[in-house]
């Protein structure tokens, strides 16, 4: 008998989160993320954690921020409609520097859309859904096993940089079951936030040492009292109207992600060594792209895959490094062209960038991608 187990993507998100130390989940069930709430309700009491079903998504994210401020690793899961409702407090989490993981299993269309259909239409919302200049880290898995390992990384980055991390899933991966062999516990790297307790610095709860970007965190409600606010604040945590202090704070929040981009960004490449065409994709779309590339390579076409695993910040350095060898790029995603904008920005007109998207709730097939590659080849010859 094989050691593999049959597991759904949504289930792997919960198991990975628990392995990362998640002990609090608050959420409001919504297709196609519902299994994450179900499985959390089943599993958290078994490991001494807590599951709360909230009245809506506004309350869910608020409860998650509260739990994390108190020192517990916390997560919520939703889909587009709920992700929209959570945006205000995601910004609060960024400003107050409260680590947490928000899973968005994307569904098709605006508003309540097509609840059971795949989409990647929340890519830009993950970046710009909450207002104001702010940093965002977002990761996107393409298989059940990667969902498990990558959500651990989402928690690690949230803890290390004290910021909400968006775990951007799609219906393809969330509802897919695969046979997986999970890594052993001893193989996992688990990070925890830097803590400060009774150091007498109760008026300096947001104190950041010179040359660093992330303040140590005091668990709220244990020992020293301090203030948490969404207003611009000084290192004591109390609001300030000083534009100098506010400007430094906003810059530091952005810097802690931008200056550590090499630590945060991960990509996967396939057959890129001699590739002349790069297909850029992320999440569940990767499945069709990989099948198409295997077929295209069998036909002698020099096609490779460039896949951002960290989708925000966009891996622009890594893509730029590939440009000299490429003739063109094809962006394939289940939306109307969102990551496409990041690719175009990175390429800066140096190469033609083609696009294959889908917004009707159906899945892009390997045949669709192969047809697009042929069309690009013909256009190339025609010129």
């Amino acid at each position: 008998m094989s050691k593999a187990v049959l597991m759904q993507g949504n289930e792997a998100a919960v198991e990975g989160a628990i392995a990362a130390g998640m002990r609090f989940f608050a959420g409001y069930p919504i297709t196609p993320s519902t299994e994450i709430a179900e499985q959390s309700a089943l599993r958290l009491p078994q490991v001494g954690g807590h599951f709360l079903q909230m009245e809506d998504e506004l309350a869910s994210i608020a409860a998650v921020l509260g739990a994390s401020a108190a020192g517990v690793k916390a997560m919520t899961a939703t889909s587009g409609p709920g992700f929209s409702l959570m945006q205000e407090n995601i910004g609060y989490g960024v400003m107050a520097e409260i680590p947490c993981v928000i899973v968005d299993v994307q569904r098709a269309g605006p508003s309540t859309g097509l609840p059971t259909s795949p989409s990647q239409g929340d890519y830009m919302q993950a970046r710009w859904g909450t207002h104001g200049d702010h940093p965002v880290i977002a990761l996107s898995p393409s298989s059940v096993r990667e969902t498990y390992t990558l959500i651990i990384r989402a928690f690690n980055l949230a803890e290390k940089y004290r910021t909400p991390v968006i775990f951007l899933m799609d219906e393809i991966v969330g509802h897919m079951r695969e046979g997986v062999e999970l890594p052993r516990e001893s193989e996992l790297i688990i990070n925890h936030r830097k803590m400060s307790f009774h150091d007498g610095a109760n008026k300096q709860c947001y104190f950041v040492p010179e040359g660093e970007y992330v303040p140590a965190m005091k668990p709220f409600g244990q020992g020293e009292r301090y203030n948490i606010t969404g207003l611009a604040h000084d290192s004591s945590g109390f609001p300030t109207n000083s534009t100098e202090i506010a400007g430094k704070l906003f810059t530091r929040l952005l810097d802690k992600v931008e200056k550590n981009v090499n630590d945060i960004v991960r990509i996967e490449e396939y057959a890129m060594d001699d590739a002349e065409t790069a297909i850029v994709c992320f999440g569940g779309t990767t499945r069709a792209v990989m099948s198409a590339i295997l077929e295209a390579r069998a036909q002698g076409k020099k096609v490779g895959m460039f896949r951002p695993i960290t989708v925000w910040p966009f891996p622009e350095q890594q893509l730029r490094a590939r440009l000299p060898q490429l003739k063109n790029i094809l962006m394939v995603e289940h939306n109307h062209g969102q990551m496409l904008l990041e690719v175009q920005r990175t390429v800066g007109g140096a190469l033609p960038v083609d696009f294959l998207g889908r917004i009707d709730g159906t899945v892009i097939s390997p045949a669709d991608i192969l047809a697009k590659l042929n069309e690009m080849e013909e256009n190339c010859h025609a010129q």
Binding site: A4, L6, P115, T116, H175, G284, A288, L294, S365, P366
Partner: protein, 189 residues
């Protein structure tokens, strides 16, 4: 490269075709095969067309969806009419014998079995139709041993329902004749 064996399970919501698809995927995992399972359904909890898919292979499976199934189970006329149009060459189609064959479907590739009636009358519970179907599918295709299939079923049923599900599996197996089993046997290459 190993070939993909694509299976599609279709019916109306509540008939348990998704579970049938999951059980075949679970059997594949127990057997040490690669598998990807997925489904599509509408927002309603009962009724509507429900479709589930299991891909089997000895190699890595990338694209997770089924495009040209090598096997189709259809439990309703609507699902048969829809999905009999997109079959792989030589595909095996299993249908409930209450359905009528759409034009263009070669009767030689079809196994019509009294799945829904057997669940109701022989097993005594209409909701076991999906397990009856799983028993019949495996008897016809012969992909898994009876032991592997039973273990796969056990991993997906509530405690206390083992006996009735065992009965349903056996009932499904009996619906397939030795001639049918010989004619439709598949190997995952």
């Amino acid at each position: 490269m190993s070939k993909r064996y694509e299976m599609r399970f279709a019916g109306s919501g509540g008939q348990g075709v998704i579970l049938a698809s999951v059980i075949m995927a679970e059997a594949a995992v127990i057997e040490g095969l690669r598998t990807v399972q997925s489904q599509a359904y509408g927002p309603e909890a009962r009724g509507g067309v429900s479709k589930a898919e299991t891909v089997l292979s000895r190699d890595a499976i990338w694209y997770s969806k089924v495009t040209k199934p090598n096997f189709l189970l259809a439990l309703t006329q609507a699902s048969l009419d829809t999905y009999s149009k997109t079959l792989a060459e030589g595909a095996v189609v299993m249908i409930d014998d209450s359905l009528s064959l759409p034009a263009g479907l070669d009767p030689k590739q079809v196994i019509a079995a009294p799945i829904l009636r057997s669940a109701r009358e022989k097993v005594g519970k209409a909701f076991t139709a999906n397990i009856v179907a799983v028993g019949a599918i495996n008897a016809a295709l012969g992909i898994f041993s009876d032991e592997v299939l039973l273990e796969a079923v056990k991993r997906h049923i509530p405690a206390g329902t083992e006996e009735i599900n065992k009965k349903a599996l056996a009932c499904g197996k009996e619906l397939i004749s030795a001639e049918q089993a010989a004619a439709f046997a598949q190997t995952i290459e």
